[in-house]
Each structure stands twice: as C-alpha cells, then as structure tokens.
C-alpha cells in the first residue's frame, strides 16, 4: 500500500519535472531579469518621480513669481501672465499627482493641491479671516489649484473685473494676501515632499523590495490603482457626469470649472502621465525602460485563453481611453451638458481599465489591495 503510494508520488514528481523543464525551454535564459524590484524602484525614483518633481517645481516657481508680480501692481497683462503660468503649473501637476506614495501620501499632498469643486463660500470666508485653518479636511477645496482657478478665473466675468477684484480699496489687500497665502502654502508643502525624495527617502524607497503592505512596490501600486479609480475615473469623469450619482449631471464639479476649455487637457495630461508611468517612460528623454509593464512581462502575466500579455491588454485599453479623451470637447463640463453619451462611454472604458489594474495586475504581481495587516491562509 505504502510502497505503491511512494511509487505514485515519484512518478507524479517526475512528470512535473518534465513538464516544468518543457516550459522552461520556452522562457528566456535569465529568469531573474526583470523581476528585480530594486531595479524597478530605482528606475521609478530616479527616472520618473524625481525629474517630474523637479520640472513641476520650475513651473510652480514661475507661477509664484507671476503671482508676486501681479499683486505688486495688479493689471490685465500681469493677470494674464499669472493665468497662463497657473495653467502650465496645473497641467504639470497632472504628471506628479499620481505619485501618491511615500512623502506625498504621508503629507496627503493631493488633498491640499487638487480637491475640487472649489468651495467658494469657504474661500471668501478665509479671505476675511486671515487666520483660517487650512490644515483641516473641510479646507481642502479652499486651497490648491481649484481655489486658484476660482481666484484667477472665477471672481469676475472679464479679466478687467478680476483685476478690479484685487484692486478693491476695501478688500483688495486681503484678497491679494489670500492668493499669496495659498501659493506659499503649496510651495511649502511641495518643497518638503520634494526634499524628502531628494534626501533619505529615495534610498529607503529602493531598499524596501518586499511585497508586504509596508513595501515600496505595494504602496506604489496601491497608490496608483487608487489614483486611477478615484481621481481620474471618478473625479474627472464619474462625478461631474453624474454616473456615480444616479445620472444627475453636475458639470460644475468638473476640474478647472472656471477656466473654460482646460479640463480636457488636464485629463489628457493625467492619463498620459499614467501611461508613461506604467510603461516606465523616463521623464527626460522619454525612453522606455524597466517598469510595471516589463515586470508584468517578466512574471509571464497573460491571458491564458488568447495568450496575450496582460501588459498589452492594459496598454490597449489605455490607448482606447486616450482616443476617447481626444475626441471630447475641450471643456468637459460643456461636453457633459451637451452630449453626455461620450463621457459615459469614456467612463465605461475607464472602468474596464480600473478592473485590469486593480484585479488582474495586482493579482498577477501578488499585491493585495488591502491596508490591514492580518494572517491569511
């Protein structure tokens, strides 16, 4: 009885070796290549995150200088300079907002930079109350780029009226002060995040090569998945289109609501930055390299039915989404009001991508979408 059992297991084991050797031949000789997460993390830190932060800082400083010039002597030309540099910085931000892991996550940078729609009542209150607390969650939509959108584009119907808003003999000085207060605050928050990346955090990030919940890869992927689901799909399309609220459209909840015609560019920038992150396209020089894509390929993640690589399925879906974004009206609020079918269609395509990222990609990488530490079996 037992010897038969032993013989059977030996035979089964032999078969397994044969099968696995057979499979082994098909794969490349160095299976360790591409699965080294230290290489992956180094690339993300040095070729994507840090250069993007550096570039954002330049654009941000331009905006800050324009703002200081504007309040020194408000006029239309300086306002338009400021509006333009705000637009550039906001576009640039879309390429950094996705780094919601590490210092940016710890400092909840996004909450202070891009929670919309702007809270106009809150902003007006804060202008008169110079000691208003800007740390609490209720203050998120009273600061950052959305608040600047209102302050630079929404406080008057023409640029002349906007300049007047800041030249008001009674409240002008307070309004200028709030404008500068929130820009300085953004500068402070961002600089501390950037300094951490330039300092000890980078090495720490690269050294945590595991896949447990405290590891860099796990935090990075969790942050990325959440970013697409909540801040691109829901924030930019799902909520303003009303898809997430019984179909009741709320175009006023779209990004850059006051600066008409910018929201599509912001969305496209955010989506393209995501694409580049997935494919590991370096910030400078746009060279492809070690990335989530190559990591998934090294793991052999594919659809068994069609034999297609999972990374290709993800990239195709991102391409499809890009086409749908490009076809939108430059102003997403206008698109939602005029023809919601295109945004609904885009939402569905994004939903498909979210599933691929959140379920297929994380599962293939053995990353659990969970933030609690607990035993499993």
């Amino acid at each position: 009885m037992k010897s038969a059992f032993v013989r059977l297991t030996l035979i089964l084991f032999g078969i397994s070796l044969l099968i696995s050797c057979e499979k082994d031949k098909k794969t490349t000789s160095n299976e360790g290549d591409g699965k080294d997460r230290a290489v992956l993390l180094t690339r993300y830190a040095d070729s994507l995150v840090n250069p993007a932060y550096l570039d954002f800082k330049t654009e941000f400083d331009n905006m800050k200088n324009s703002a200081n010039a504007f309040i020194a002597d408000p006029d239309i030309i300086k306002l338009q300079n400021l509006q333009e540099s705000w637009e550039n910085a906001y576009l640039n931000w879309q390429g950094t907002e996705l780094f919601d892991f590490g210092p940016a996550e710890v400092n909840t940078l996004r909450n202070f930079f891009n929670i919309y729609p702007a809270d106009v009542t809150g902003i007006l209150n804060n202008i008169s109350n110079t000691s208003a607390n800007l740390e609490v969650p209720a203050s998120y939509p009273q600061q950052g780029f959305p608040a600047l959108d209102y302050l630079l584009n929404g406080v008057g119907s023409t640029d002349t009226a906007i300049v007047q808003f800041y030249k008001d003999p009674v409240d002008g000085a307070k309004r200028q002060a709030y404008l500068i207060r929130i820009i300085d605050r953004m500068d402070l928050l961002f600089t501390s995040v950037q300094n951490e990346w330039l300092g000890a955090f980078r090495d720490d990030f690269i050294s945590k090569t595991g896949l447990d919940i405290s590891s860099s890869t796990s935090k990075m992927v969790n942050g990325l998945v959440l970013h697409y689901e909540r801040y691109i799909r829901s924030g930019k399309i799902g909520i303003p289109s009303g898809i997430l609220n019984g179909g009741i459209a709320a175009p006023e909840k779209s990004e850059s609501y006051y600066r008409k015609g910018l929201s599509k560019s912001l969305l496209l920038k955010a989506h393209n930055a995501y694409y580049d992150f997935f494919t590991g396209t370096s910030f400078n020089g746009k060279q492809a390299g070690t990335s989530l894509q190559t990591y998934l390929d090294a793991l052999g993640a594919k659809d068994n039915a069609s034999g297609k690589l999972l990374s290709n399925i993800i990239i195709e879906q991102m391409d499809l989404i890009k086409q749908k974004i490009v076809a939108l009206n430059p102003d997403i609020a206008a698109q939602i009001s005029n023809d919601p079918s295109s945004t609904n269609d885009l939402y569905n395509a994004m939903q498909t991508l979210v599933r691929l990222l959140k379920v297929d990609m994380t599962s293939a990488m053995s990353i659990t979408i969970t933030y609690t530490d607990n035993d499993g079996d």
């Binding site: 397994s16 070796l17 896949l211």
Partner: protein, 448 residues
Amino acid sequence: MMAIKRYLNKNSSIAPLAFFRICFGLLLFISICRFWSRGWIESLYIDPKFHFTFYGFDFIQPLGNYSYILFLICALSALMVALGMYFRISSSLLFLSFTYIELMDKTYYLNHYYFISLISFLLIFTPANRAYSIDSLRNKSIQTTQIPRWYIDAFKLMLGILYFYAGLAKVNSDWLLNAMPLKIWLPAKNDLPIIGPLFNFEITAYIFSWLGCVYDLSIPFLLLNKRTRPFAYIAVVVFHLLTGLLFPIGMFPAIMTVAALVFFSENFHHKILDFIFKKLPQFKPEFNSLYIPKNRRITLWMFACFFIIQLAFPFRYLAYPGELFWTEEGYRFSWRVMLMEKAGYAQFKVKDSSGHITVIDNREFLTPQQEKMMATQADMILQFAHYLKQQFEQKGNSQVEIYVDSYVSLNGRLGKTFVKPDFDLTKVDESFQHKNWIQPFNEDIKGF
C-alpha cells in the same frame, strides 16, 4: 468487529495527551496575546460597521468593547488548559470562546482557526488533566498514568485528516499542471536572502507545488510509521518553517509543528515531561493507574460521529454544480489551504422605487480587508447587498433593487464577470442551495 474491540481496549500512557494539552494551551495563549497586542481586536472586530456572519449563526456578532472580555476569557481559558486547571470548565470555555470569535466575521475565516476549534472541542472529552496538571495535584484521586489509546489516536487522526485532505485538495490541474498560485506567490519573495533568487525560476514553483502535495498526502502515514517518523518530523519542521517564511500565516506553522509531536512514542513524551517537570516532581503521577471513562460508550460514539462528519463534510462541494474554486460553495471547513490567488472588484448599484441609481462606495461600510474578501465570495456579496438594502430602507426607500458589477480573477486567469450583472440581489435569500446567479466559470479545473 473483534479487531475494533481489541483496538478500543488498548491502553497507552497519558504522557502524550498531557504534553499535547500543555503545548496546545500555551500556543493558543500566545496566539491570543499576539492578536491582542497587534490591535487586531479593535481593527477587525470593533472598528468595522458591519460584520459578515455565518449562515445560521447570525446571532454571533462582535460584542463591541466587550469583545475584549471575550478575548480575555479565551486567553485565560487557554492558559488554564495548559496548566490543567478546572479542566472541564476551562476547556469548554476555550472551545466556546474561540469558536465564538471565529464565527463573528467570516472575513477572517482561516482553516487553522477551525482546526483549533475542533481540537479544543475534542479536548473537553479527554482525561488530559489527569497528570502533570494543577487538577491532578489538588485532587490526587484523579491521577492517571494509563488511558485508552484511542484518546491519543483521535488527535493523530484529526491531524491526519487535516494534512491528507489539504493534500487531496492540491490534486488539481491548477496546482499540479500550472503551479498556480505558487507561480504568482513565489516571485513576490525573490528578495529574500539566499533562497530568494530561486523564486525567479518557474521550475521552483512546480517543484514546490508537487512537493507540497506529496508532503500533505504522505506525512500522516510517515509520522505514524516508527521507522520513517524522525525523517517525517524533519520534513514537518522544514515545511512549516518555509511556509512561515513565505506566507503571512501567523502562528499556524508553530502550532502544526508542535502538534505533530503527538505522533511520537510514549518514551519520547516521558523524557520531555521528565525534563520539564524536573524541578516540579509533585506534578508527576505517584502510582500507576488506568483511567476508564465513566460514559465510555457515549464518548466513543460521539468521537465516531465526529470523525464521520469530519471525513464526509469536506466532500459536500460535490453536491453543487459549477467549479468549486469559482463559486466556493462548500469551500470553507474543508482544509483547502492556500490554493487560490483570487482577486475581485464589486461595485454595487442601488436602484430605488423612483428609478434613481446610487453607486455604492464600499469603503463607506467595509474595511479594505472585508471589501477584498467580499469581492470574490458570493455569499458575502449577497450578505452585503442585503445590508445595503436595509440601510436604504431605513432612510425611507422602499422596494430597492440591488445589482452588482463584479469582476474576479482566479489563479492568474484574466478576470471576468462573477455575478450576473442584471440579477437583483434582493430577490434571493442566503441558503445552502446552489447560487444560480453566479456567472458560470466556463473553464474546467480538473481534480479534487
């Protein structure tokens, strides 16, 4: 018949049982302390708004802040079991409190918790406190050196069932032919020192899969046989060290490694106990005596029924159509351990009587871990849908319909729709019937 009778009349030293009791109680005590110190009582049982109860055990709910008392009772009874103190009461309390904890929320269901419940249940009916215990020190009249052998064999059988059934569950095409899910899980550990680089090779996943299967199927027999036992035990140690290193399975490796000692001889146990109680000789039984259970027949029949159920229960999945790994109907309580890499996504839509649809943000009601477990398990999806219905009805919406947009990936397959998207989940109640609203898997995973 005669052979059975003869077997039932065989006796054995009480030493293996007493030692088992001491180790089991201590390890459980440590487990509960570990659980407590990590803040899990709060984060798993007090913080969540909603709990996934077991069908038929819906009255078993976390007790809010009193949950701490429950854990305290469990920890103290485990310690008292180890000491052999008020044994009948402490072992009963241990079984009841531990099982209550286990049943509070199926999100945290683990086979090894179930194993602990079963072992503590069996312990209640044994004379494990009649030597090397406080009870036997205080009441010398209960001191025992010999007990019927089947008391000890019951624990061997339980361990054997666990291993063998776990091995049987591995005899399937995903595990053996595709090395799934190890092919996914092992590369995640490729940054471990020394052995890490091995996990970059696919063949490692195949070797581990096959060895794991062979280990589980054969280890009970190799432990039973005197000649193979030392080698088998080395295998036990290596196996559990490795799984403990690779997977987040907490105390399970320690418990199994220690529990397997029950297979060793009387002599072995005498030596260990002599060593432990060198300074405390008063705990050793003073004279030789044989314990004969008062209600021997009832106990024997109960043990027999217990094991018949244990042997049959894991096969209940055969009563359900569809792929077991996909539907998970009859999956729990069957020693199916670490067989699946399953991930899912479930987005609920609540449609009220006016036709207004609300898309649910699961995070409003569930913790990330609850959401994760719910997204791949049909009974939990249904339970959550009914909870949502209740929530909406409390807000004055009558006649809501609830649909789920779900997507599940299993063992590296590309994800697909899990629950029929046009099925109104309020239309059906939980039952042991097949859930025909689960989308068919349309693939065949062959084997057990």
